[in-house]
Symmetry: C2
Subunit: 357 residues, 2 copies
DNA sequence: CCCCGAAATGACAACGATGTCGAGGATGCG
DNA sequence: CGCATCCTCGACATCGTTGTCATTTCGGGG
């Protein structure tokens, strides 16, 4: 049989372009039936050690790797987790995806991902692309996709939304309203009365919930809401951030900023430095690289992508076991992490109101 | 629309478990043969407009999405790009993957990705997972996988390595040696004689090539190489960076640092600030968020992940058309971007040597 | 009015793997 | 020594889709 193998190997070698080995090729080379090869590569019981060894050797010799398409087609179960997010270049989602993949690997699952770029049409395309696979679960940060569509998918595999939610679908979110209110209240408690809000103008409520929390905190403190202090842009790249920073050159400039996302905070900080402006008090949503190295360190609302990724993955796996479970809304706790930038007093204390609580 | 959604959700709710619609289900519902449905969803010619409309309507009604496993199995061609990288949480790779996905989407391709975590065993597993799919191409940042394995894969689909190379395989890299030499020479030209090198201790030559470039530049300038100024750690997290920063507390502390990766630079900057040390001259490999906001801005060797991603993708697509093409080595140009931190003179000019060129 | 050819459609097999079930051989027990 | 039993292994059908090729249909020309 070693002889047989050598012959087979030689034959294989002779072929200039060796096509991918199939299970049947292994079976022929090893002199067993396809089913037996299948049993071996799937670690099923009921194969004689001798046979098993022979097959395994042949598998190695031919470099056989089972075809996932065929395997997925035959088995109804899948071992791929789909992730659909806004953009992988967003550090929040990079960390999020990283955790999900880490956990998936540990369970022998694959990860396939796609990004929407905040675009509804692209989201639809990508969603079809992902759901064309038999998935073991789908994690999606929904842009425009509705509850009905997701509910339809949910009959096929577990679905969890992240960062945003849809009725009837499991969600992993934070308390945007409460966290924003807390951050705003903290700024107010240091004497600020003119607090600006900067955020992306995205087609989902994350930022608007934060804006609502901001307004609510202002109201609770008896500070009038000034719409001119709310700056939203589709993105906070250099250009938009520069424009936003002009707010600080006004006569009635805000003395504090609440940035609704870390991207907004980064852009704003860059613009402020680039224009040589004096740094106002600032609180960011979400930590970011080097935020603690700035002078002062950037105070932020902790909004840990790793916790959220772990929560989403955990829920996905629970749903895999209990597909009929009631949808739950997992609110990952947040907390305000002071690092300096949020605890400075107004530069121009017009009318210090002192602690509001 | 909220109403519509509620209605749709209710309908979905009503159906206890609606199994996924198959092509055959569409065929039956539309009163045509499976093959005709196939023709319609693949936009093949030779279908009467009436029939086409009828089928398309049924497809929508049933929410039919073709099964990718079956499709991939039947067609031999695939439309999925595989990416295997060290870690998606590394901003370099996040940006890299982002570009590749962007380009892939534009051509109607999917992306499946996996990370190695710098671990050889995990790399092997992940590689099998990825190559179990029929791929339209594979981009890999190789850890331990050898030229032979990749050559085997190359007979099945285009393979491009990135950041590191393997003989006989197309590669997209930068000139690590040259770029490090240039950066080191620049530091020396500002009068530094004690320049430290900090980098990860990774099992591939990227960092060691940079170290070699550093040594070469020292030699060219007649500055003796001091091994105690080379600090390598497996990772540059808080702990390791803190240890590395102790170098700066020595009596004969270096006056300049060359950081072999942006992660090393970030960790080092964090540690320096955390310990309240005086900032030495510093040049980083690779830009990072907020690097320009620090005081002074961090001078870096531009090492653009977006360019590299685009180059890798382009090469993949070329190879798809010409599978037998000779492997090429694409060296993405780098340049030293001065922002201040690399252009400061030594704090303690022991023996200024002036410009060495 | 019939026949021909082109266009539209369908029947059938096959992609590569695995689930079901049955066949055959070795083993244990009376 | 014979029979029941267990264990190993293989034959065959099948997952959902598409390629090949045959068949039907329809309009037009003779």
């Amino acid at each position: 049989m070693t002889h047989d193998e050598l012959v087979a190997a030689a034959v294989a070698e002779a072929a200039p372009v060796r096509p991918r080995a199939r299970l049947i090729d292994v079976a022929i080379a090893a002199g067993v039936s396809p089913k037996t090869v299948s049993r071996v590569i799937n670690d099923e019981a009921g194969v004689l050690p001798v046979t098993r060894d022979k097959v395994m050797r042949t598998v190695r010799d031919l470099g056989f790797v089972p075809d996932r398409s065929a395997r997925e087609l035959k088995r109804q179960a899948a071992d791929t987790i789909g992730i659909l997010i806004d953009a992988i270049s967003d550090p929040f989602f990079a960390a999020f995806v990283s955790v999900v993949e880490e956990l998936a690997v540990a369970e022998g699952l694959s990860v396939i991902f796609a990004s929407t770029g905040y675009d509804a049409a692209r989201e639809r395309t990508q969603l079809e692309r992902l759901t064309g696979h038999r998935l073991a679960g789908l994690v999606v940060a929904p842009v425009a996709v509705g509850a009905a569509t997701l509910a339809g998918l949910r009959t096929r595999f577990p679905v969890v939304t992240v960062d945003r939610s849809r009725s009837g679908i499991d969600a992993v979110v934070i308390d945007d309203f409460g966290a924003a209110a807390e951050a705003t209240a903290a700024l107010l408690s240091h004497g600020h009365r003119r607090v600006a809000f900067m955020g992306e103008d995205v087609p989902y409520p994350t930022v608007s919930d934060r804006l609502a929390g901001y307004r609510s905190a202002l109201e609770a403190a008896g500070v009038p809401f000034d719409p001119s202090l709310v700056v939203t842009h589709e993105r906070f790249q250099a250009g938009e951030a520069a424009e936003a920073s002009r707010l600080l050159e006004r006569a009635d400039a805000p003395t504090a900023l609440l940035c609704a996302t870390s991207l907004a905070a980064i852009g704003t900080v860059q613009a402020i430095r680039a224009r040589g402006l004096r740094m106002p008090a600032l609180v960011s949503f979400g930590d970011f690289t080097l935020a603690e190295v700035l002078e002062p360190g950037i105070t932020y609302v902790d909004h840990d992508p790793r916790l959220m990724g772990a929560a989403a993955f955990r829920r996905l796996r629970e749903l895999a076991v209990h597909p009929e479970a009631e949808p739950t809304r997992t609110v990952v706790p947040t907390r305000l992490v002071p690092r300096g930038s949020g605890e400075v007093a107004p530069s121009f204390p017009l009318d210090p109101i002192g602690a509001t609580r």
